[in-house]
């Protein structure tokens, strides 16, 4: 579906800006509630993430000694800006992307990596022992998960023959679902998504029992609230991307809700199923296995396309 709204409203209220932020809070609530139900608990009520965000915004922001003050204050803002901007090129909520051009897939992926980069920088900036270790782990994990994720996103792009997310969406809607045509790519994409978002079992950069809170230990008040909101928005965009590419595209809001809910259920189940992997285990596992699987999938697609050309 197409939307023609004034660009300012598009940016600030719907479907970007405020609506996206509240949708991020909704996703956080669903995530926490589902994980709680898997663990036989009740889980929080619907307004809990909103209450957390408001509480954090109301608290004093303490700037530790020895940090670069401007960077400390600016990094959360840059992080959430990157996440919100990426939303403009992705078909959110069943409507066409607000702005789209050829090659916007690459731009979106870079903007999403900006978030992780900001967390890593924030950790390195704050000179606490826990944050430095957390920053190192976050950046290491970024290296090992971004590459396979990009390769997995590349698969449907090659099959559709375009770099434009909107056109891939249309292509996926018309043809067979890519989850059936490229199953290995789907697995790589889901695992890569969980690694990017630092969801358990890949949450070594944020391991509560080893390094308190990782790179974000010294953040409080507004900075922490912005980082959390940024992470929620990244969750929304990441899930939407995987749905668009592998679960047959999104043509209207109803499809969006149903398909996202299905994928979310699978991701939450995977979250509760495993123990946390050590950082060397995550990197060791995925750098080899994940990249290999993604390359295999790409070769299969190229081969398939070549075959298709010959047979025509």
């Amino acid at each position: 579906m197409n939307l023609s709204i004034h660009p300012l409203i598009l940016l600030l209220i719907f479907p970007g800006g405020l609506f996206l932020l509240s949708f991020g809070l909704l996703y956080e609530w669903v995530d926490r509630k589902l994980v709680a139900r898997f663990q036989n608990r009740v889980g929080p009520r619907w307004f809990q993430p909103l209450a957390d965000a408001i509480k954090l915004l109301a608290k004093e922001e303490i700037i530790p000694n020895g940090v670069h003050k401007i960077m400390f204050l600016l990094l959360p803002i840059v992080a959430i800006t990157g996440a919100l901007t990426a939303a403009l090129y992705v078909p959110m909520f069943g409507f066409n992307a607000a702005f789209s051009f050829e090659g916007d897939l690459i731009v979106v992926l870079y903007l999403l990596s900006l978030m992780t980069l900001c967390i890593g920088l924030a950790g390195a900036n704050t000179l606490s022992r826990f944050t430095i270790i957390g920053a190192t782990r976050a950046l290491t994990q970024m290296f090992s998960y971004e590459a396979p994720f990009l390769l997995a996103m590349l698969g449907p792009a090659i099959a559709a023959g375009t770099w434009n997310i909107g056109k891939i969406n249309a292509f996926a809607g018309e043809n067979i679902w890519f989850i059936l045509a490229q199953p290995i790519g789907f697995i790589v994409a889901v695992v890569g998504l969980m690694g990017k978002l630092e969801l358990p079992p890949f949450d070594a950069p944020e391991a509560e029992t080893e390094i308190v809170a990782g790179a974000l230990t010294e953040y409080s008040g507004r900075g922490l609230a912005l980082f959390h909101l940024g992470k929620n928005v990244e969750l929304v965009i990441g899930l939407t991307l995987v749905v668009v590419f592998y679960l047959g595209g999104i043509a209207n809001p109803l499809e969006f809700i149903l398909k996202s809910a299905g994928l979310f259920l699978v991701v939450t189940a995977l979250q509760s199923l495993f123990a946390r992997l050590r950082i060397d285990q995550t990197v060791g596992l995925w750098w080899r296995l994940g990249a290999l699987m993604a390359l295999l999938q790409l070769l299969a697609i190229i081969f398939g396309k070549y075959l298709g050309e010959i047979l025509r």
Binding site: R37, F38, R41, V42, A269, S272, L273
Partner: protein
Amino acid sequence: MSIGVLLGDLLKSLFSKPVTQNYPFKKSITPDLLRGKLVYDPEKCVGCMLCIKDCPSNAIELITVDKLNKRFVMRYHADRCVYCSQCVQNCRFNCLNMSNSEWEMASTSKEAFEVYYGREEDIALLLERAAQPGIDEPPCE
């Protein structure tokens, strides 16, 4: 060697009710032997003070109003008590027992934790005496 051994349990938990008890809307039945607040029956007491002797935290005080007629008032500090029930064990006349229904004793003021047990007129007499300036309390153990 297997991955995701918990999957069966996970799916079962998703479709069953959570085990969290919805307190305070739903309270479970307390067992009979629960050691809640101490309850004192002044009629049976002879004033032997054995309960006070072995209390680990000095939570009981027995004030003699009339020794010959065996009229005593017990001042029980619910915040000092550790609910060990040694006093119940020591008493040979069954004056003391720990309630199994009164166990929610949170309060926002300290006064709620100083409990007086005894006949009404004895307690009134004591409080009146204590309110007058310059009068010492009768000695309590």
